[in-house]
């Protein structure tokens, strides 16, 4: 089943994403990068390079390294923007027969659609490698201000690349989709897109699931690189002050400065200050020179203040043109890596008067939105989005009043889970299943949804019967809980409406409660576990003592018996540490018993004494029982304990 991919075909960088279940996933290209430079180059032997490799040889091949082709796609040669590019670009821009702007490289003529197709092809291959199957359809994004001819040219590029372009959607729309704003209800959206080289602001309005572009504005020569340049110039100027050397003339030093500046800029989005370390940046006759400067966030903000202000003017104009006031805007979306800067977030928040949506990676949000649109067009996403989750954990009550989870909260439903439990007492004839909902460790703190009993369990030592408890939740959230005795095949079950009318608020509070009580609950759980363990140890040790007591000395026997009674006493009290200590002591002293048992087994397997073999067999069987004992969880049993005691009485 072929998949629809989403492609953000950017001026400087492109990105591809695909739906993985309910989430849009950005894919890494062959070099391991999540974005691919929108650069195409033709080498001497007409070999074609796309992406990072094309960028790397630009210096040796400027006329044939084609970049920012998005500025030309679908435009007429006489267009103002094209004229500007003709004078600036190192590559040749020509007029085609139909007056469109085309490119020429190594004697061949190319339409911007053809060049863009090479980039789209690389994105297609990236997706195919990941999915392991052919990709034939895509959704591609374009700026909101693109006209018909630019959109058609982009669609053509897709076709040339071998992709059926199911839809061309606007970049701000795609970003809004990635945040699910089409379902949220707020109708008026502002999208602030500050990418690597350009700034775009768009005002959208959603009506009946349809996005309408009310206005657009921006600055085509303002981007993250300008912010980097401010830092580079600051560092170079400071250095020049102290050392009279202009690092900008040294290619390597300049490159190092640029990298350090970008790194520092990124760090200052989370830290309030950073150190820029560039040892041996240059040298003069007095020796090597180093840069070691502390850059604070405040200083950075001062350096780029005018750039940030430059973005607010287009916002004002776009707002005016849309006819809305800032107060009427319901949602603000941030796009582009530069929007990670706290000062920018602050300015946007102040301007529009609300917190912007920024939780999705701003470099990838447009590609993700395109993938979501692709998923919707394919039909999968709608189905998947209908899936619900169980908001709280479900489980049963087990020995000691603890709550044992079978289904974790936020599990997608429908779902089914089984676990095998056993009895807590010897000859226990029935088990009581108490179905609980909640996150607390102790059963009493969770909500009891229902309970039932499974009777007719044949007499057996505790821990032997195998009771399979199964939780089954259907797509409507109805919970069926069954308990089946694997020995007799007897089964009992009930059906409950799991949500039980809990509101979102109540669910949130329950989860919060569990967090708040985590420590206290953990302690209680430990106490119960310790007591259960003590109980089991007493039981098995007494059994073993009865069977094999003859194998050890009287002194050792006495030690064990004392250990047992000590532990019993500790259990009467409430000191968990004491219980734990006495358990350890009993484990230690009963090790002698264990040793003796194993020794006698070995002796007996050595000689061919049939009588001894029989007793060995029994021994090993009993040991097996002990092992089984420890494995099984035990089900609490008060009602039936009484019944049991009655029977015995």
């Amino acid at each position: 089943m072929s998949r629809v991919i989403g492609i953000d075909l950017g001026t400087t960088n492109s990105c591809v994403a695909v739906m993985e279940g309910t989430q849009a996933k950005v894919l890494e290209n062959a070099e391991g990068a999540r974005t691919t430079p929108s650069v195409v180059a033709f080498g001497e032997n007409n070999e074609k390079l796309v992406g990072q490799s094309a960028k790397r040889q630009a210096v040796t091949n400027p006329e044939n390294t084609l970049f920012a082709v998005k500025r030309l796609i679908g435009r007429n040669f006489e267009d103002e923007t094209v004229k500007k590019d003709v004078s600036k670009a190192p590559y040749k821009i020509i007029k085609a027969d139909n007056n469109d702007a085309w490119l020429e490289s190594r004697g061949k003529k190319y339409s911007p659609s053809q060049i863009s197709a090479f980039i789209l092809q690389k994105m297609k291959e990236t997706a195919e490698k990941y999915l392991g199957q052919e990709v034939k359809q895509a959704v591609i994004t374009v700026p909101a201000y693109f006209n018909d001819s630019q959109r058609q040219a982009t669609k053509d590029a897709g076709k040339i690349a071998g992709l059926e372009v199911l839809r061309i959607i606007n970049e701000p729309t795609a970003a809004s989709l990635a945040y699910g704003l089409d379902k949220k209800g707020g109708k008026k959206i502002a999208v602030y897109d500050l990418g690597g080289g350009t700034f775009d602001v768009s005002i959208l309005e959603i009506g009946d699931g349809v996005f309408e572009v009310k206005s657009t504005n921006g600055d085509t020569f303002l981007g993250g690189e300008d912010f980097d340049d401010k830092i580079v110039n600051y560092l170079a100027d400071e250095f020049k002050k102290d050392n009279s050397i202009d690092l900008r003339t040294d290619k390597l030093a300049l490159q190092r400065l640029k990298e350090a500046a970008e790194k520092a800029k990124i760090e200052l989005s989370s830290a309030t200050q950073t150190e820029i370390n560039l040892p041996f940046i240059t040298a003069d006759k007095t020796g090597p020179k180093h840069i070691n400067i502390k850059l604070t966030r405040a200083k950075l903000e001062a350096l780029v203040e005018d750039l940030i202000k430059r973005t607010l003017k287009p916002c004002e104009t776009a707002l005016k043109d849309s006819g809305f006031s800032a107060a009427e805007i319901n949602e603000v979306v941030l796009v582009g890596g530069m929007t990670r800067m706290p000062k920018i977030v602050e300015n946007v928040k102040t301007f529009f008067g609300k917190d912007p949506n920024k939780s999705v990676n701003p470099d990838e949000v447009v590609a993700m939105g395109a993938a979501i649109q692709g998923g919707v067009l394919q039909g999968d996403v709608k189905d998947v989005l209908l899936l619900d989750v169980t908001p709280l954990s479900l489980g049963i009550e087990t020995l000691g009043g603890v709550s044992t989870k079978l289904i974790e909260k936020n599990t997608t439903i429908p779902t089914k889970k089984s676990q095998v439990f056993s009895t807590a007492e010897d000859n226990q004839p029935a088990v009581s299943i108490r179905v609980l909902q909640g996150e607390r460790e102790m059963a009493g703190d969770n909500k009891l949804l229902g309970n039932f009993e499974l009777v007719g369990i044949p007499n057996a030592p505790r821990g032997i019967p195998q009771i399979e408890v199964t939780f089954d939740i259907d797509a409507n959230g109805i919970v069926s809980v069954s308990a089946k005795d694997k020995g007799t095949g007897k089964e009992q079950k009930i059906q409950i409406q799991a949500s039980g009318g809990l509101s979102d608020e109540e669910i949130k509070n329950m989860v919060k409660d569990a967090e708040a009580n985590k420590e206290a609950d953990k302690k209680k759980r430990e106490t119960v576990d310790a007591r259960n363990q003590a109980d089991t140890i007493i039981h098995t040790t007494e059994k073993n003592l009865k069977e094999h007591g003859s194998k050890i000395s009287d002194a050792e026997k006495k030690a064990i018996e004392t250990g047992i009674s000590d532990l019993r006493n500790a259990l009467k009290g409430t000191d968990t540490e004491e219980v734990k200590k006495k358990t350890q002591a009993l484990v230690q002293s009963s090790m002698k018993l264990g040793e003796a048992i194993y020794k006698s087994q070995q002796k007996n397997t050595g000689t061919k004494d049939t009588k001894s073999n029989q007793s060995t067999k029994e021994g090993t069987d009993k040991n097996k029982e002990n092992v089984v004992d420890a494995d099984f969880e035990e089900v609490k049993e008060d009602k039936n304990d009484d019944k049991d005691k009655e029977k015995r009485a």
Partner: protein
């Protein structure tokens, strides 16, 4: 009595609509069958997708482990860079050269560098040999062009910064200077290429 009358009535009404009912029934059956077919197909698709996803996640997990240290490795390269620069700076320093004790310092630095290189190698990080090799944008980043008629155009003759591979991925490209053959400028030439190249220069 009433009841049986009613029954007959009902039966007769049944008879009248008998044919229509049958048609409705068979179209209902068709609908159910289609729905069943669709549901079965969806189920199979969903199951297949789960299997595919599992496969993809497995692969990703393996890659995440293999290249988990990628970013850290890339930043750590500056340690190698700067140690090399320090050693070069000391050994070329006019004043230090005269000092016999210089070797003590340089030896110490060189030992540390050797250790670093070996640690990197153990983790799959190796330097890229680029000198005199043909310029390859998949591994090299051209920083400048150098005129040199003794070599083929596009040969790497200067290593401005060392590049490294991490296993089979490019960790950092080599920053290089690449040769180009000097352009012949004879008088009476009207070669198209030259004209274009000079035009381009004017544009720049």
């Amino acid at each position: 009595m009433e009841k049986s009358d009613k029954k007959e009535e009902d039966q007769s009404s049944l008879k009248d609509n008998g044919e229509i009912d049958k048609k409705e029934q068979s179209s209902l059956e068709d609908k159910s069958e289609n729905k069943l077919k669709n549901t079965e197909e969806k189920l199979l698709r969903a199951m297949a997708e789960i299997e595919n996803q599992r496969r993809r996640f497995e692969k990703e997990k393996i890659e995440a482990f293999e290249f988990g240290g990628f970013n850290f490795a890339r930043e750590s390269l500056s340690l190698l860079d700067n140690l090399e620069r320090a050693i070069a700076s000391f050994t070329n320093d006019e004043n230090l050269k005269k000092n016999k004790d210089l070797t003590k310092i340089v030896d110490g630095l060189e030992i540390v560098m050797k250790d670093l290189v070996s640690i990197f190698k153990k983790n799959g990080i190796v330097p890229i040999e680029c000198f005199n090799k043909k310029f390859d944008p998949n591994f090299h980043q051209a920083m400048l062009e150098i005129e040199d008629n003794t070599k083929e155009t596009g040969t790497v003759v200067q290593e401005i910064q060392k590049g490294y591979m991490m296993k089979d991925r490019l960790l950092r490209p080599s920053m290089v200077g690449v040769t180009k053959k000097r352009q012949e400028n004879t008088e009476n030439t009207t070669k198209k290429d030259e004209k274009e190249s000079s035009e381009n220069e004017v544009k720049k």
